[in-house]
Amino acid sequence: MAQKSWFLKGDVVSGAVLAALGVYIISEARQWNYVGPEGPGPGFFPMWYGIAMVVLSLWLVVVSAVRPAVADAKVDWKGVGRAMLVWAVFALCTALLKLLGLLTVLALLTLFIVGVMYGKSLKIACAAAAGNALGFYLVFSLALNVGLPVGPLGF
């Protein structure tokens, strides 16, 4: 399988990250009562799944590191980059919700996706953005009367 080497590297890294998470969980769990007078305390469960997490993730790291790498490893880093870019814009949009309100943010998001990611012309992108925002306004604000975050302009 052409992807195996990437997975391998990914598995080692993700396994290590999860092991670290497990250690964090265990350290937090120690701060709480393991067993209280009336039964297991808040530290009981986290301790156990923390331990399980560390054990399993270390197992994963070892197994993946030992497995032989496949020669032609090809990862579509460009694709990953595109996906992460969209995510970053989305995350930025959620941060902007407070300032600009949902409809504006949605329009911006649509603009970005249609215009930048799919490379459509500016006209199409703007039309899509406006249409989307309008559609959401009609369906959610008017028809369903759901309260949406609003920006300084009232929408």
Partner: protein
């Protein structure tokens, strides 16, 4: 027979034009609400309560119940078409339903969901009618040890959702357990993993994780390539819009499975439709002749959970109507509605208000029929959504996700969490970690921990309580068997290979 006579009376009530109208209004509204992620039947019923004060209680109850199970029907639509779970129980439908849509069988998936829901809903109503009081007693025998065993059984299902790497599935499940533990600890009032943030005190809402990990990750993954065309293949022609006879035949057991499992779990106060769908799905996979195909788009993988989450509605009404004990958020509001209408919910409610109970039961039959009739013709309509080009559909999905998450608690913090989980979901995809176990851990983790600690409090630290009681012991044994199963299979295949090599 007494029951038939009462049912007859009930139908007379249910078929009154006024009640028919309210039933339709309820199921229609419920379907709309179910389609929207985040907005659930509980909140809708609460919003409509003031309206109901001007109506006779029977009509009001018929409408509210209609919303309750209409929402179950609606939840499957976005799950199948957009990989966005409309409500928590629809998560399991996403697993195979969305995959069926990717193969061009979106119409068939929607059809199977509707049919399974109808069959299970009807079974639920029949069961409610016939076995409500004795079943309620059975429900009372369930307490924390049994719940714990049930949750363990549910978590053992992770083995069935694992796919290639069991280790990764287990790790995903553990992360789910961790997320489930965030928030205020019920017993000691300690705050766990809240990072000092008061918004984290309630933990992370399931909907946020599910939408982030399922829907958002799908969108981001699809963005890797600039593909033109539609997101999913559009089914053409009536043949492709409805399930084939072969598919329906494959679902025979699933229909039964979903109905029974859903109803029984519904009866237990505290266990909800999400766990019912997981267990039904797991059970279906266990008895299937081709378990490895689950997760790639098999019709039974849609029929079982969809059926379970519908008959759960009937089940949840059992403790409510026979004992006055609400089993879930939605039934709690129905209980509140009873009180506000001046009724006294409790063991005597059915005796004191027979027309209410039987009218409700009869209207549930009627409602189920209405929903089937409503939903089947809508399938071609919904399938048209798929005709939208991807570049238009993705922003819409992102928008729906945002709105859906925001409506849960009107919290912007939740939206930030959504972005975080979207990233997590995407990374999980790329690194080949299955997401269903994470959801499973999240859904069950909290309840399981609670049940275990309650059990140990009851027995003062004696773990034996879990195996000394028959029901919990049985379930624990089943769970252990489930967990050992893959070892058997592996052992078996080694054995076979060894024999082949030697022979």
């Amino acid at each position: 027979m007494d029951v038939l006579a009462n049912l007859g009376h009930g139908f007379i009530v249910a078929l009154e034009p006024l009640n028919l109208f309210w039933c339709f209004a309820g199921v229609f509204l419920g379907t709309v609400v179910g389609v929207m992620p985040g907005l659930g039947p509980a909140a809708t019923i609460a919003m409509l309560l003031p309206l109901t004060f001007k109506m006779p209680p029977t009509s009001a109850l018929i409408m509210l119940a209609g919303i309750y199970y209409g929402a179950k029907y609606g939840g499957s639509t976005t799950a199948i078409l957009l990989n966005v779970p409309g409500e928590s129980a629809s998560v399991v439908t996403c697993l195979d339903g969305y995959q069926m849509a990717r193969k061009g069988r979106a119409g068939a998936a929607l059809g199977i969901a509707a049919i399974a829901s109808f069959i299970a809903g009807t079974v639920g109503v029949v069961a409610l009618m016939l076995v409500a009081p004795p079943l309620a007693k059975f429900g009372l025998a369930f307490s924390s040890p049994e719940y714990f065993a049930l949750m363990v059984l549910g978590l053992a299902m992770v083995v069935l959702l694992a796919g290639e790497s069991l280790v990764k599935a287990l790790l995903a499940m553990l992360v789910g357990l961790w997320i489930a533990g965030m928030g205020i600890d019920l017993f000691s009032d300690a705050s766990r993993f809240t990072f000092g943030n008061s918004e984290m005190l309630d933990g992370v809402d399931f909907v946020i994780v599910a939408i982030g990990v399922f829907a958002l990750s799908e969108v981001f993954a699809n963005m890797e390539q600039r593909e033109e065309g539609t997101m999913l293949p559009v089914p053409k022609g009536l043949r492709n819009l409805l399930p084939t006879m072969a598919e329906l035949k494959a679902c025979r057991f699933a229909f039964l499975n979903g109905s029974v499992v859903g109803f029984i779990i519904g009866v237990l106060p505290g266990a909800g439709s999400t766990i019912a769908s997981f267990i039904s799905y797991g059970l279906e996979k266990v008895v299937s002749k081709h378990p490895e195909k689950f997760g790639t788009g098999v019709p039974e993988g849609v029929a079982a959970p969809e059926g379970a989450n519908n008959s759960e509605t009937g089940g949840a009404l059992v403790p409510l109507l026979t004992l006055g004990i609400p089993g879930s958020g939605t039934t709690a509001i129905l209980l509140a509605a009873f009180v506000l209408w001046g009724l006294k919910p409790g063991p005597l409610m059915i005796q004191d208000n027979p027309e209410l109970f039987w009218g409700l039961v009869a209207s549930m039959y009627v409602g189920n029929v209405m929903l089937l009739v409503l939903n089947l013709p809508l399938i071609p309509l919904f399938a048209q959504i798929l005709k939208l080009p991807s570049y238009l559909l993705y922003p819409i999905i992102l928008g729906i996700s945002l709105v859906g998450v925001y409506t849960v608690s009107s919290s912007l913090f939740d939206c930030y969490m959504l972005a975080a989980f979207g990233l997590l979901g995407y990374l999980m995809r790329r690194l080949d970690y299955p997401s269903a176990p994470l959801i499973l851990g999240l859904v069950l983790g909290d309840a399981m921990e609670r049940a275990l600690r309650q059990s140990l409090m009851m027995s003062q630290g004696d773990l034996g309580i879990l195996v000394s009681r028959p029901i919990s012991a049985t379930m624990l044994v089943l769970a252990v068997l489930l967990l050992i199963m893959p070892l058997f299979r592996k052992f078996n295949s080694w054995r076979v290979r060894a024999i082949e090599e030697n022979g």
